[in-house]
C-alpha cells in the first residue's frame, strides 16, 4: 500500500540523512559484527561477512513484521473505531513498509557481495519466490498475532522475548555447521528455513529442497489459520480494543 511509503517518508522527515539512516544502521551493525569476528574469532571475513549481512537483513525483516504486528491493532484502536476499514489492511501496510526497508538494506548486501568478489548468478533470481513466501508468511502470521494480541495483552511481550531467543539459536550470524552433530536444532527451527530461502540465492547458491518444503508448508498452514482467525474475530476485535 502506498501508505507504507508514506510511513518511511514520515519517519525520516526531520532527519538530515533521511532514508539513508536505514542503510547506515544496517551498515554499522554489519560492520561491527565483521570487526568482532575478524579480531576476536580470527575468521576470514571475506567468506563470512556476506553470509552475516544477508542473514541480518532477512532476520530484521521477519522480526519487524512479527513484533510490529503484535501491537498493530492495539495501537490503531482509534482508527479502527473511527472508520469502517478491514483491520487486515493495517497489517498489509506494515508488512509493505518493512519490505521497502528490506530493499534499502539489500543494497548494502549487494555492495558487500561485490566487494568480496561474489558475482551475481541466476540463482539470485530464486530470492524472488523466497521473498513472496516470506511476504505471505509475514502477512498471515501478522494477522494471527495482531488479533490474538488484542485479546491477550501478554502476547506482545511473550513474542518479543521469544524472538530474542530465536535470534540466538537460529543460524543467522553463525553458520549451521558450527552445530556439529546437533544440526537438528537448526533443522527443526522454521526460521532457519525462512532465512535460507532468501540468503542462499543472494549468495549465489540454490535453495535446499527441505527449506522449500518447510516454508511452503508453513506459509500454507498459516494463511489458512489467518483466514479462519480473521473471519471469526473480525467483529469481536472491536469489543477487545
Amino acid at each position: 500500500m502506498s501508505l507504507g511509503w508514506n510511513d518511511i517518508k514520515s519517519r525520516y522527515r526531520r532527519t538530515v540523512l533521511g532514508p539513508f539512516w536505514i542503510v547506515l544502521n544496517t551498515m554499522i551493525s554489519i560492520g561491527f559484527l565483521g570487526f568482532v569476528y575478524k579480531t576476536i574469532f580470527k575468521m576470514a571475513i571475506g567468506d563470512f561477512l556476506p553470509f552475516i549481512a544477508a542473514g541480518i537483513i532477512i532476520w530484521n525483516l521477519i522480526f519487524a513484521n512479527i513484533s510490529e504486528s503484535c501491537l498493530a491493532f492495539i495501537q490503531q484502536k482509534y482508527l479502527l473505531q473511527g472508520i469502517p476499514i478491514r483491520p487486515e489492511l493495517i497489517i498489509v501496510r506494515l508488512v509493505f513498509r518493512n519490505t521497502i526497508i528490506f530493499f534499502h538494506n539489500l543494497i548494502v548486501v549487494i555492495i558487500i557481495l561485490f566487494i568480496f568478489g561474489y558475482g551475481l548468478n541466476l540463482n539470485f533470481l530464486l530470492a524472488i519466490p523466497g521473498m513472496i513466501f516470506i511476504f505471505i508468511l509475514s502477512f498471515s502470521v501478522g494477522i494471527i498475532l495482531a488479533y490474538l494480541s488484542a485479546r491477550f495483552r501478554d502476547l506482545p511481550q511473550m513474542v518479543s522475548s521469544l524472538m530474542g531467543i530465536m535470534f540466538l539459536i537460529t543460524p543467522i550470524i553463525w553458520p549451521k555447521r558450527l552445530l556439529g552433530e546437533n544440526q537438528i536444532i537448526a533443522i527443526i527451527n522454521p526460521f532457519t528455513h525462512m532465512i535460507t530461502m532468501i540468503r542462499e540465492p543472494l549468495l549465489g547458491n540454490p535453495v535446499p529442497l527441505l527449506s522449500w518444503i518447510v516454508v511452503i508448508m508453513i506459509a500454507f498452514m498459516m494463511s489458512m489459520l489467518a483466514f479462519v482467525v480473521s473471519r471469526s474475530f473480525r467483529y469481536r476485535l472491536m469489543y477487545w480494543l
Binding site: N6, S10, R13, Y78, G82, I83, R151, F152, M158, M238
Partner: protein, 250 residues
C-alpha cells in the same frame, strides 16, 4: 438508494479488566483455579434498538453522555456488529467520528489529505483530483504546508471535515465534532452538508449543540441509557430532551 435497517439490535460490551485480558489468567481459569476473578458484567450500551433510515433522512441523535449515541453511530457504520438482533445496510458509508483519520502529526497538511483519503478508500487519482478543492474549502491557505502538529483544534476539524465530506458517501455519519469549527466555517459546513444530503442520502449527526442540530437535521432521536425514548421532528425532540433533563427550564 441508501438505507439502514436496525432490528432489535443490542450491543453489550464485555468489560475486560487486566486479569481477563491476561493469558495467564485465561490459562488458570481453564485449569479450574478459583482465584480467577469472574468477568465483570457486560455494559449494555444499546438495548433492542429499532430504527429504519431511508433516503433523505437527516437524523439528529440527542442524549446525555453515555446514552449510546456514539455506539449507535458505530453500529450503523458497521464497525460494531450487534451482539443480538441485526443491522441491514445499503449504500456506501462515510464517517466523521474523530479527527484522527490516521493522520500523521509530523506530516504537512497536504500529505495528510493523502493519508486520510487513502484510509477512507480513495485512489491516488481521486485524491489528487480532490486536493485543491479540499485545501480551498478548509481555508487553511499557507498552513497546508505546515505539519499537522502546528494546527489548532479548529484547523484540524476543518481539514478532517473537508476530506471526509469530499468523498461521495450515500450514508454520512457524524459524531459531535463539527461544533468545534468557528461560526464562519459552520455556515460553510452547513452548505456542504446541505449539498451532501441533497444527493438523497442518509445523514446522521450526534451533537449536543442545539443550533447545529436544528440547522442540519429534520428528525430528532432522543436516547437514554441505550434506549431510544423519543423520535420526532427535531424541535420537538430537543424540547423533549431539555424538559426531561432540565425540568423547569434552563
Amino acid at each position: 438508494m441508501a438505507e439502514i435497517k436496525i432490528k432489535n439490535a443490542s450491543v453489550h460490551f464485555p468489560v475486560y479488566n487486566d486479569s481477563i485480558l491476561s493469558l495467564r489468567m485465561a490459562f488458570l481459569g481453564l485449569m479450574g483455579n478459583k482465584k480467577v476473578r469472574p468477568p465483570l458484567k457486560p455494559v449494555k450500551a444499546l438495548k433492542s434498538i429499532n430504527l429504519h433510515l431511508k433516503d433523505g433522512d437527516r437524523i439528529g441523535l440527542i442524549g446525555l453522555n453515555g446514552a449510546g449515541k456514539s455506539t449507535l453511530l458505530r453500529l450503523m457504520a458497521g464497525i460494531y456488529k450487534p451482539t443480538s438482533g441485526f443491522v441491514e445496510r445499503r449504500g456506501k458509508v462515510g464517517t466523521l467520528f474523530d479527527l484522527y483519520l490516521g493522520m500523521d502529526e509530523e506530516a504537512p497538511g497536504y500529505e495528510n489529505i493523502f493519508i486520510a483519503g487513502t484510509i477512507l478508500g480513495l485512489s491516488p487519482d481521486q485524491i489528487s483530483a480532490a486536493t485543491n478543492e479540499i485545501i480551498e474549502f478548509s481555508e487553511l491557505g499557507e498552513a497546508i504546508y505546515r505539519p499537522l502538529k502546528t494546527y489548532s483544534m479548529g484547523m484540524r476539524v476543518r481539514l478532517a471535515f473537508s476530506v471526509a465530506t469530499s468523498i461521495h458517501s450515500e450514508i454520512m455519519l457524524v459524531d459531535e465534532i463539527i461544533g468545534v469549527g468557528d461560526i464562519k466555517f459552520l455556515k460553510k459546513a452547513g452548505e456542504r452538508i446541505e449539498r451532501v444530503v441533497s444527493d438523497a442520502r442518509v445523514f446522521v449527526l450526534a451533537s449536543h449543540a442545539e443550533f447545529v442540530l436544528k440547522d442540519f437535521c429534520r428528525t430528532g432521536v432522543v436516547m437514554e441509557e441505550g434506549n431510544i425514548i423519543f423520535t420526532g421532528p427535531i424541535d420537538e425532540a430537543i424540547n423533549f430532551y431539555n424538559e426531561r433533563n432540565l425540568p423547569g427550564g434552563v
